[in-house]
Amino acid sequence: MSSFYQLEFEKPVVEIEKQVAALQERLKRVQGGKVGGGGAAGEQTLETGTGADEESAAPEDAGAIEREIDALRVKRERVLEELYAHLTPWDTVRVARHPKRPQTRDYIEMIFKDFCELHGDRRFGDDPAMVVGFARLGSTKVLVIGHQKGRTTQEKIACHFGCAHPEGYRKAMAKMRLAEKFKLPIVTLVDTPGAYPGLGAEARGQAEAIAVNLRDMSRLKTPIVSVVIGEGGSGGALGIAVADRVAMLANSWYSVISPEGCAAILWKQANEQTNTAAAQNLKLTARDNLELGIIDAVIPEPIGGAHREPKKTAQHIEKWLTDQIMDLKAHTPSTLPRTRYERFRKLGSFAEQVA
């Protein structure tokens, strides 16, 4: 449980959690004292030693301790809710990057059935940072695509922390064409700090790979729905997000550049203060993107973020995906490129003087 608390702004919750833990120890001792087990009790005394003052004032019967624990838990929920309701954009970025936050493969496991992964780009190699395959969403057969960041150190390195290479984008596009041929809707899950900036990626045409996806996704005659589940970093994110409907999880971010990248360039240095300012200015939160018309919906997260209740988050995503696909399937596939074009065509803000 303690590993959930890695974020600075969650300190008040950590304090409450500590009190609950201390009380639970006491409860065990009060209840366990009747049964015995002296060795374990000795250890517990050591651990809760710091709370000696509280203990002397605390009630001695189990019922009272339980009631106090319950009260603290209610308080914890309230404080957590309050904290997450007022996250700064930079804190949102931190939640979006939380090491325990569910990733593409987690959601595939929780939302879809019978996932059948397809690895081949037929060009260079399999990019583990881009997961692609057929799957079933309820009774609907779909193609699901998503960035994968990796959970273990080994997996993270193999996935370049969710930064895909050109072969990843090309694999995704190749299978999207297949989905069009098979008349399958496409679901994409976006979670990347950005496309990988490296020698091989440049040599193999990172820019071209993304550009082709933007062009060809726009004209696919099959429904496409996208959800930004964590990080929506620039062209690397957009490269699988030219969709009929786009949503963001409440604590994800989507922008032209990461706050650190932006701070390093425009503020000449990336530090806590400039990152905070950049995150604020980039209007990268789900709510901001909704207001700008860049996304169509914000999918709520459970109190305290997706990482606290992955299953519940998955249910929210599943519902949104199912609704959208149901709706889009009512359209003739050949009309989708036109409406998709119009969706992106109107984005932008400028003044125009008519001559």
Partner: protein, 283 residues
Amino acid sequence: MTNAVSSKAKTWNDHSSARKTSVPEGLWLRCDGCEQMIYRKQMEANLHCCPECNHHYRIAGAERVKQLADSGSFEAMFTGLSPTDPLKFKDLKGYKERLLAEQIKTGATDAVIAGSCFIKGRSAMLCVLDLSFMMGSMGSVVGEAVTRSIETATERNLPLIIVSGSGGARMQESGLSLMQMAKTSAALARLDDAGGLFISVLTDPTTGGVTASFAMLGDVILAEPKALIGFAGPRVIQQTIRQELPEGFQRSEYLLKGGMVDRVVPRNELRSEIARMIDYSGR
């Protein structure tokens, strides 16, 4: 993706602080390419290339149009477009102030010039990103003008030529800049479906969101010699991989060898090469 902006902006500023071309004032100058002393007027008359070593200096949008279009044939379009500050972006300087300073410096409203013209007698739609304005970065105005150029070329069945020179998507319009990548690329899908011709000309530098959208989608891609062309800027790559980049990495000739562009074309041959491509396409 826009990380290339600052490193290149520095290079740009090294040459010029407040003028349209990258060449310092004065009758004579030392060439960046061969370090010879060259006569400024001679260099300018040579399409802003060194008469000794043919080093290609960066040029502003207006100069590019002048060089490519048949004399007097260019008719500017979409000139009424001007940028707003939709996000109320403020870094060390407000975006509004930045825009105003750039507009005063260049006399342009944003980093794009578009219009119809003739190139060696062939009717064409020409769109040029203007490096002299915020490093040719793409915000809503650039995205809109590029998209309209593509749409016009599609409607009128004109060959489309886009000359790119850009640091990438404009950070100050954040998500809206990002969406211009999708918008322009989607418009190119329609041009392609209609059987249109798109010649993409890449100049020094073309990076970030511009490269990762319309610039790399040409039916034919031409690049000026030694132009820096890439997705990520060299500095970002260096920071990521923590080793020296190979000589010539991300330059036109490197991309040609890697199969990413079709031809490296010196500036003095650009007009005739474009005309030749139009002829081959049968437009």
